[in-house]
Amino acid sequence: MHLQLGSWRDRHGLTRLPGRSAGAAAACLLLLASCARSEDTPPHLTIGWTPMPTVDRESVAEIQLNEAMARPVTGARLRLEAFMTHPGMAPVSAAVEEQGSGRYRARVRFTMAGDWVVRLQGTRADGRRIDVQEDVRRVRPPEE
C-alpha cells in the first residue's frame, strides 16, 4: 500500500506531476511558435477620415497604401475590420474599393465611443499577403 501511494505521492503528499509530459508540451508550443509564417514587409498605411469618426455616423476612410520608396500598392484585394481596443466588443467590417495610385476607400460606421484599431487584410496583386493596422483615437460619442 505504501509503495502504491509512493508511486503517486511524494513525501509532502503532493501529487506527482508528469514532468516529462510538461517538458514535451513546452517543446511542442515552441515548435508551433516557430512554425508561424513569416510576413512580407508590410506596406505603409495612412488613413484620412471624413468626417471625423463619430458613433453611428458614416465616415469615409481614405486609405493610402505604399510599399517602400513610396511605390503605391495597386490591385490589392482588401477587407477592412475595425476593432475596439478592448477585447470582446463587436467589430465593424467594411468593403474596400480601389481608387487607383495606391488609394482605397471604405465607408465605416463606428458603433461605440472610444479607441479603435482599423485592420486591413488581404492580398497584393501578386498574391503576397497584406496585414496592416492603424489606430483611430477616440471615436466621439454622438452628442459631441
Partner: protein, 480 residues
C-alpha cells in the same frame, strides 16, 4: 450565531460528487487551466498585438474575469481550485522543498492589498486590456511570484498573503452558496490525528505525509465561512473519517458571523481585512468608472487643477480620491455615527460594519465583468480561428467569423441592474444582521448610516451603468 445545519452536500450528488472527490480532481482542473495559461502566454507573446484578435487579452480580460465571478457567485472558489500557478509550484517543490516560514510581520493581507491596488492602477494607466504581450507577461509574473515565494516559504504563503486574485476570490467567496464544512462535529471532537490540518501520514515508517492538510491554516472544526479557503479539497482528501461536506448554505450570511475563525481570528479585529474589503468595494466602482465617457471630463479637470498633463499623476490623484479619501469620509462618517449610537469607539463599528458592503461590491464587479463576458463570449471563436490562420496560414472552418461576438451591449442593462440590486439588497440584509449583533437594542439606528452608504454607492453604480461607454487604449491619453 451558531453554525447553520448542513445543507445539501455536493459530495453526495451523483456524478459531480465522485468527480470532486477523485483524488486527482484538482490536478485535472489545474491541467486544463495550465493549458489555457500556456495559450495565453504563447499567443500574447507571439501573436498579433491587437487585443481583440489575441487570445491573451480575450481569454484573460473577457472570459477569465467573467467566468471567475460567475463561478464564485454560482458555486464557489473554483478558480483557486484549478489555479495553475499552484500546479507549477507543486512541481517545483518536488525539486526544492521550502524550509522557511512566512515572516510573522507579513502575516496579514497588507502585501496583497498593495499588489491589488497596484494592479488596478497599472491596468488603468497602461490599459492592460489592450496589450496582449503585457498581459502574457503579467501571467508569467504570477507564475514566477508563486514559484519563488512558495519554494522559499512553506504552506500556501503566496495564496494567503500575496496573490491579489486570491484575495479577490476570498472576499467574493463569502457570497458563494457552497462551503467546506464539518459533517459531524462529534467525529472531530473524537479525532486525535487532525489530518485535515496536519496532513495524513503513511501508516508505516518513514511516516511521510501522503495527503496534504490545509496549507492556509484553516482547521475545519473551527473554520467559519469561505474566507481564505482556496477550495483545494486537501482537507477532504486528508480526513480519514470522511467527515467533510461541500455544503449548500445561505450566501453572505457568514459576513455577519462574529465568531473567531480558524486561521483568521475575528473579522472585527482585522484592520487589514477591513482595508481589503474597502479596496474591493471602492475598487469595483473605480474600475467601472474607467469605462465610461465622463471619466474623460473628470481626468481633464483634475489635470487642470494640478496643472499637469501627466496621466500617471492624474490617475494617481483619482486613485487617492477613490480608494483613500472616499472610503475615509464615507466609512469614517458612518462609523462615527454608529459609534455614537452604540456608545463605543469608532474602531468597533468600522471593523464590524465594513464587511456589510461586500455584497454590493461583488454586485458591481459582477455587473461589470458579466457585461464583458456576455457581450464578448463568442469572440473566442474567431480569435482562435485567427490564431490558427496566423500559425498555419490556413483558415479553420471558413476563416475568422468576426461577427461572432455575444449579446448586444444595450440588452444587458437589466441584467446589470439586477446584479447591482441583488448586491445592494444583500448588503442591506447583512448590515442589519451586523447591527443586530453589535447593538441589539438600537439595531436600526446603528445600521442607518451604513444603509445610507450602501444606497449612495448603489446609486453611484447605477449612474455609471447608465452612462455611455467609452473604451480607451494604451497611450490614448485622457488628457490629450
Amino acid at each position: 450565531m451558531t453554525t447553520p445545519a448542513i445543507g445539501s452536500d455536493v459530495f453526495s450528488w451523483p456524478v459531480i460528487g465522485p468527480a470532486l472527490r477523485w483524488r486527482h480532481a484538482r490536478t485535472a482542473l489545474q491541467l486544463v487551466l495550465l493549458a489555457v495559461a500556456a495559450l495565453v502566454v504563447l499567443h500574447g507573446l507571439t501573436g498579433p498585438q491587437l487585443a481583440p484578435a489575441n487570445l491573451a487579452t480575450v481569454l484573460t480580460w473577457v472570459h477569465y474575469r467573467g467566468l471567475l465571478i460567475v463561478a464564485l457567485l454560482a458555486a464557489g472558489n473554483l478558480f483557486c481550485t484549478g489555479c495553475p500557478f499552484i500546479l507549477v509550484r507543486d512541481a517545483a517543490r518536488r525539486v526544492h522543498a521550502p524550509a522557511a516560514r512566512w515572516p510573522r510581520w507579513l502575516r496579514r493581507k497588507w502585501p496583497a492589498i498593495v499588489l491589488f491596488v497596484t494592479i488596478l492602477f497599472v491596468y488603468e494607466l497602461f490599459d492592460l486590456w489592450a496589450l496582449p504581450r503585457a498581459t502574457a507577461w503579467l501571467v508569467l509574473a504570477y507564475f514566477g511570484a508563486a514559484l519563488v515565494i512558495d519554494t522559499v516559504f512553506a504552506g500556501a504563503s503566496f495564496c494567503k498573503y500575496v496573490c491579489p486574485i486570491g484575495q479577490f476570490n476570498f472576499v467574493t467567496s463569502m457570497l458563494s452558496p457552497l462551503e467546506l464544512r464539518v459533517r459531524e462535529p462529534a467525529t472531530c471532537s473524537a479525532c486525535r490525528t487532525v489530518d485535515c490540518i496536519k496532513g495524513r501520514r503513511a501508516p508505516e515508517a518513514p511516516l511521510h505525509v501522503v495527503r496534504r492538510g490545509c496549507e492556509l491554516a484553516l482547521f475545519l472544526p473551527a473554520k467559519v465561512g469561505n474566507l481564505d479557503c482556496t477550495l483545494c479539497l486537501d482537507c477532504v482528501q486528508a480526513c480519514p473519517h470522511d467527515n467533510i461536506a461541500l455544503a449548500a448554505r445561505l450566501p453572505a450570511l457568514e459576513i455577519a458571523d462574529g465568531r473567531r475563525r480558524s486561521g483568521i481570528g475575528r473579522l472585527s479585529q482585522r484592520w487589514d481585512l477591513a482595508a481589503l474589503v474597502a479596496v474591493f468595494v471602492f475598487g469595483a466602482l473605480l474600475n467601472a468608472l474607467g469605462m465610461i465617457t465622463p471619466v474623460y471630463t473628470l481626468e481633464r479637470q483634475i489635470g487642470v487643477w494640478l496643472g499637469t498633463t501627466s496621466e500617471a499623476m492624474v490617475l494617481g490623484v483619482l486613485f487617492v480620491l477613490a480608494l483613500g479619501l472616499a472610503p475615509a469620509v464615507l466609512l469614517g462618517g458612518a462609523a462615527s455615527w454608529s459609534a455614537a449610537v452604540i456608545g463605543s469607539s469608532i474602531r468597533r463599528p468600522l471593523l464590524a460594519f465594513v464587511y456589510g458592503l461586500v455584497p454590493l461590491g461583488a454586485g458591481v464587479w459582477a455587473a461589470h465583468y458579466a457585461f464583458h463576458l456576455l457581450t464578448g463570449f463568442f469572440t473566442v471563436v474567431p480569435v482562435t480561428q485567427s490564431a490558427v490562420l496566423d500559425l498555419t496560414g490556413r483558415g479553420w472552418l471558413g476563416g475568422p467569423w468576426w461577427t461572432w461576438v455575444g449579446a448586444p451591449p444595450g440588452a444587458l442593462f437589466p441584467l446589470q441592474l439586477g446584479l447591482l440590486a441583488l448586491g445592494a439588497m444583500g448588503s442591506v440584509a447583512v448590515t442589519y444582521l451586523i447591527a443586530d449583533r453589535e447593538s441589539p437594542s438600537r439595531t436600526l439606528a446603528a445600521a442607518t448610516p451604513w444603509l445610507a452608504v450602501t444606497l449612495l454607492l448603489f446609486a453611484a453604480a447605477v449612474w455609471m451603468l447608465a452612462q455611455p461607454m467609452e473604451m480607451r487604449a494604451a497611450g490614448a491619453g485622457a488628457l490629450g
